[in-house]
């Protein structure tokens, strides 16, 4: 509770520190507009045209429905990865054998290109929600798993000894000694897992489904509708930036104040 209040209190100052970021985004948009003036509307529509299309799309119920579909798939996939990845990672971290055995498997999971997973999933699950959700899970699971594994593997033996010497009861050991350390590893892993999930969901949709943002992107491509394609990209990037910079980053800052 105290913690949430502190995040809210520091929030305005955090937002105020974002002017630099806004300036660099505006610079990027200016370059984009230059690109439009050089290459023309078909190749690269102007930012203005893109944002007009975007506003029109957001007013359209069908588009909102597509966004919701994508959001649903990404959240289910990411949610499963989060719960399973975190708990398996923590568990594996507590046992030397398990963490040793899981390393090569994780390397295989990380090393396998997502596109290969999509093909396999299409064969296994056909065209639909399951294929997309499965791909999202296999792509974000290893990231979260490794984060949790590292968190438990790197627990400081000296601090454990110290907590033993003060005979800390188990709940204090967990909340005061283990949890903050593990969380400082797991939380960034969640953030990168989320970013991964959001990218993969669109890719899987583009190839394997007939609805969602990815499918809309495929339609825009076949109709050479560049403004719509770009507007969809803006939706994806905008939502990711919103979640990352407005929600997660302030939490991360508070949680990691103690880090040097």
């Amino acid at each position: 509770m105290k913690f949430t209040l502190k995040i809210l209190k520091d929030f305005p100052a955090y937002l105020w520190s974002g002017w630099g970021a806004i300036a660099s985004i505006l610079l990027f948009i200016a370059l984009w507009d230059m690109g439009n003036q050089i290459y023309g509307n078909l190749v690269l529509p102007s930012p203005l045209e893109t944002f007009t299309t975007l506003v029109a799309m957001l007013a359209d119920e069908n588009v909102i429905a597509e966004i919701k579909t994508t959001l649903y798939r990404a959240s289910v996939g990411f949610g499963i990865s989060l719960v399973v990845g975190t708990s398996f990672g923590l568990l594996a971290g507590f046992f030397a054998t398990a963490s040793m055995m899981s390393r090569p498997i994780v390397t295989i999971l990380v090393g396998m290109p997502p596109i290969a997973w999509i093909v396999l999933a299409m064969i296994w699950f056909g065209m639909g929600d399951e294929t997309v959700i499965f791909t999202v899970i296999v792509a974000s699971f290893p990231i979260i798993f490794v984060g949790a594994l590292q968190g438990t593997r790197t627990l400081d033996g000296d601090l454990k000894e110290m907590s033993d010497s003060f005979k800390l009861p188990w709940h204090m050991k967990f909340f005061d000694v283990y949890f903050p350390h593990i969380f400082s590893y797991v939380f960034p892993a969640w953030v990168s897992g989320l970013g991964m999930a959001w990218k993969i969901v669109v890719m899987a949709e583009l190839l394997a489904t007939s609805d969602g943002i990815g499918a809309s992107l495929a339609v825009a491509r076949s109709q050479l509708d560049t403004p719509t394609a770009l507007a969809l990209v803006v939706i994806m990037i905008g939502s990711l930036m919103f979640v990352e910079y407005i929600i997660l980053e302030p939490i991360k800052r508070e949680v990691e104040l103690w880090r040097s």
Binding site: D158, E161, D164, S165, D176, W258
Partner: protein, 245 residues
């Protein structure tokens, strides 16, 4: 009567023999030092006495009502501020949060920390400050037995002396008993009633030195004279390999 009694204690790590047949008794109000070269099993002995390691052969019976530990490095929780770090032991002993914070603030001031340091995280403290916090954390619980694992070895002489004089003050009031591990003979002579010399491979006690003068009466002259004397001792020379080769 509270005491720590170690009887025919042996210890192995795997096939390596670390300690052999250690015997001593630490009575209430006494300061016992174990000196010896690095890697001689001193820390292992201390951990066995403090219950941080399980005793395999022999016994280490600790009947002191309470104990705490100050380590060579401060071992503060990096995610807790100064006051919360000091309060850790109190909270573990079941003290109420507000009382624990109050006591911690009081002892922090006694240990030369400023009020502006209270909210700081360990990363923002100097090495000496961290060790002050570590000492405060160990002493705020008012332990009847204090385990010290070379806590002064990384400190400058000023701070070393300051922390030692706090201990000497407590010793002369008979408030505390100390089991002290060090490789610094002068430090041991300043603080101890009894010094045990631990020779390595495997760690075994070869000699015992006693000092009767009360700790608060020991001036620099006394400590230097006794150090000079002990450095002439045959066993000390061979144990620390002081002979010029």
């Amino acid at each position: 009567m509270e005491k720590l009694e170690v009887k025919s204690l042996n210890h192995h790590f795997g096939f390596t023999e670390i300690l052999r047949d250690i015997n001593f008794t630490l009575n209430k109000g006494q300061v016992l030092s174990v000196v010896g070269p690095s890697g001689g099993g001193k820390t292992t002995l201390l951990h066995l006495c403090a219950g941080l390691l399980d005793v395999e052969e022999g016994s280490a019976t600790n009947t002191f009502a309470s104990s705490s530990f100050a380590f060579q490095d401060a071992r503060l929780l990096p995610w807790k501020n100064v006051i919360d770090n000091i309060a850790l032991g109190l909270l573990a002993a079941g003290e109420k949060k507000s009382v624990a914070i109050e006591k911690s603030k009081k002892i922090a001031l006694e240990f030369g920390l400023e009020e502006s340091d209270f909210e700081k995280f360990p990363k923002d403290l100097s090495g000496g400050m961290r060790q002050r916090v570590s000492f405060a954390r160990a002493l705020v619980v008012k332990p009847s037995l204090l385990f010290l694992d070379e806590p002064f070895s990384a400190l400058d002489i000023g701070l070393k002396k300051e922390l030692q004089s706090i201990l000497i003050d407590m010793i002369s009031k008979k408030e505390i008993s100390i089991l002290f591990i060090t490789h610094d003979l002068m430090e041991a002579i300043r603080l101890s009633d009894e010094i045990l010399l631990l020779k390595a491979d495997p760690g075994h006690i070869v000699k015992k030195f006693s000092y009767d003068l009360a700790q608060n009466k020991r001036d620099d002259e006394y400590v230097y004279a006794q150090s000079a004397k002990i450095l002439q001792d045959r066993e000390i020379i061979t144990t620390f390999e002081l002979e010029l080769k």
